[in-house]
Amino acid sequence: MTAMSRLGAGLGARLRAALGADRAADEAAWAEVEEVLVAADLGPRLAAGVVAGARGRTAGGGVSAHAAIAAELGERLRRVPHQPFVVGPSPSVILVVGVNGSGKTTTAAKLAARFQKEGRSVILAAADTYRPGAVEQLRLWGDRLGIGVVAQRAGADPAAVAFDAVAAGVARGTDVVIVDTAGRLQTAHDLMAELAKVRRVITRQRPDQPRHVLLVMDATTGQNGLSQAETFLAEAGVTGIVLAKMDGTAKGGVALAVVDQFGIPIAFTAYGEELGDLAPFNPAAYLDWLLAA
């Protein structure tokens, strides 16, 4: 996957340093591996679990420690069925959610660009009616792409914006309606209830929608990502994670913990400020990069 070439260094060098040339890693080496995984934000529990699993795999001999780690992480990722991201029937509604500053608006624009490139018609809905400038930000992206943006005045009911956008999508026979929502911390109960309402309103209009609810997570997020996933899953029915800002030095390990703990697959990775900087998540390529590069 070409996207991986845009990312920085993975854990390869550090894992090799920890494990040395020996096929049989000792106690200290495994402890160091665990540290490397913790440093990649997998969290202490998953890191310990992966190390325990990998050690089990090397017990019979014939498997290198490095291969065992890859196999263990790979199995944990594969346990969550990874389906290609498909849209349709029209209009397919994609709800973009997440905490403040995770990169929702940029992600919404990147998704729009992606579907447009595939030859689909797209509508963007500016349902972040709270943050000053958020509507303008989405409008600028829409102008750049030549995509219509459904918006209301600042402070409007986000569910009403979503309703208008879906109605417009139905009327125009649009393929994809992407609804950008306001950033909200998962502990803000009123705002989470508001999000649940946005979802409800969409479903009332089109019972099979939203087709996707994407939780945009900043790759630098630490273990709070677990709390985010849990609450957004409960309130908004998250179907996939977008791991954003992967062009930094963060490895996005908390997303692996989210997959492991909540069974939500990673749908996309995003890695830059250009519209093309978004790619479907490829578990094998990600692990290759994470563990080897």
Partner: protein, 445 residues
């Protein structure tokens, strides 16, 4: 979801109760829990390592092992060490001698909360008697300038910016010029979010620093940041250098271990903490409060402050008066409920109560805001007369109220029963003969 460290240590302490001394094996168990909790709070793994080693040395080297309650002693040690790392004293911004203007530069990764923090900081400095001016120098993110202009409008503070394509340094210079002309003494410069490994963008920051000579360069950091926080702070510090940190989004449930790590590794003090969506939600940093939060020990000080903000003093006194006069009605009850709601979600409040942190999740489910809302809906569905004289509410009225509030008769019954209990208690308090200003006698005394 996460057990808190203090809850786990309390469990160990309970198990060890009666034991005169803490064995090294017990200490190992306790320190393993400390390590796990710190890592789950996103404290950097190297910081955790040295931290645990220090606790071990202190525990072994001191009389702690002979303590009466050895488990609690470990908690105390951990707390002390955390506060020590976080720095004893608050960082007060150095805004330079007049005539100024002093420049405060805000930098950070994308989405860390710079623009919002810029506006909040301006509000705060104005409250402290300064005349701040905002500069929108984020020329990259679409509509970032627009965002700051709107925020400036909202809080009534001037925002200087330049036409699209103006280099950030030129915009900032214009800001300085405007400040001198308009009598502002602090210029807060909002910069574009950037990746710390992005060489050209970091070079641009260096240029800004040499042009503006800021007295304060503050790194704005998301409290939810993970293990990379240290590297981010180190890289920005090496470029600028930094003078302080603003920790944002602390109104969430992030434990804020990243802040501890950055402080520990770079020595940069934490100046402010962002605690909400409102423009006044920027608080001075208190090391002991963050230490307690990382430990999950609760934050009673913040709770009390939140209570003071949420409670209308007159309202509270009025209610107290009515209680003493045994005239406490369902209307008063509802207004009390609304005050509790204003303080924030119940679960979040419970997190701040020492010892209750573990309960918060369960309590949230049981007494969540939904329950509060239901009670409110029931009271709202009563007539004013019914609220004042609930004994009038017989079967037919109960059915009407249940339908009106979207609840069931059982809910209405329960509320009325609870209220009756409360009134009984209130009557006992009132008949104790206490007058306002005197502590009411408790029943049975």
């Amino acid at each position: 979801m996460l057990e808190t460290l203090s809850a786990r240590l309390q469990a160990i302490a309970t198990r060890l109760r009666g034991q005169a001394r803490l064995t090294e094996a017990d200490l190992d168990v306790a320190l393993r829990e400390v390590r796990l909790a710190l890592l789950e709070a996103d404290v950097h793994f190297r910081v955790v390592k040295t931290f645990v080693a220090r606790i071990r040395a202190r525990a072994i080297g001191s009389a702690v092992l002979d303590g009466v309650r050895p488990g609690h002693q470990v908690i105390k040690l951990v707390h002390e060490e955390l506060v020590d790392i976080l720095g004893g004293e608050r960082h007060v911004l150095r805004l330079g001698p007049p005539p100024g203007p002093a420049v405060v530069l805000l930098v950070g990764l994308q989405g860390s909360g710079k623009t919002t923090s810029a506006a909040k900081l301006a509000v705060r400095l104005r409250r402290d008697g300064h005349r701040p001016l905002l500069v929108a120098a984020d020329v990259y993110r679409p509509a970032a300038v627009e965002q700051l202009i709107r925020l400036g409008d909202q809080v009534g503070i001037e925002v200087v910016t330049g036409p699209t394509g103006t280099p950030p340094a030129a915009i900032a210079e214009a800001g300085l010029f405007a400040a001198r002309g308009g009598g502002a003494d602090v210029v807060i410069v909002d910069t574009a979010g950037r990746q710390h490994m992005d060489q050209p963008m970091m070079a641009e920051l260096e240029g800004l620093v040499s042009a503006l000579q800021p007295t304060e360069s503050l790194l704005v950091v998301d409290a939810m940041t993970g293990q990379e926080a240290v590297r981010v702070a180190e890289t920005f510090h090496a470029t600028l250098p930094l003078t302080g940190l603003i920790l944002t989004k602390m109104d969430g449930d992030a434990r804020g271990g990243a802040a501890l790590s950055m402080r520990s590794v770079t020595g940069i003090p934490i100046a402010y903490v962002g605690t909400g969506e409102g423009m006044d939600a920027l608080e001075a940093f208190h090391p002991d409060r963050l230490a307690q939060r990382i430990l999950g020990m609760g934050d009673i000080v913040t709770l009390v402050e939140r209570a003071q903000e949420g409670m209308d003093r007159e309202e509270a006194e009025r209610a107290a008066q009515r209680i003493l006069e045994s005239r406490f009605t369902l209307e008063d009850f509802r207004s009390q409920l609304q005050q509790v709601k204003r303080m924030g979600p119940i679960g979040q409040l419970l997190e701040m109560v020492p010892g209750a942190a573990g309960l918060a999740g369960a309590a949230q489910a049981a007494v969540d805001d939904g329950e509060l809302r239901r009670v409110e809906a029931i009271i709202d569905s009563m007539t004013p007369t019914e609220r004042r004289e609930p004994h009038l509410i017989k079967a037919a009225r109960r059915r009407r109220i249940a339908v009106g509030s979207g609840t069931s008769v059982a809910h209405v019954n329960r509320l009325l029963r609870q209220f009756e209990e409360m009134q009984k208690l209130v009557r006992q308090l009132g008949s104790g003969g206490s007058r306002p200003g005197h502590a009411p006698r408790l029943p049975g005394r």
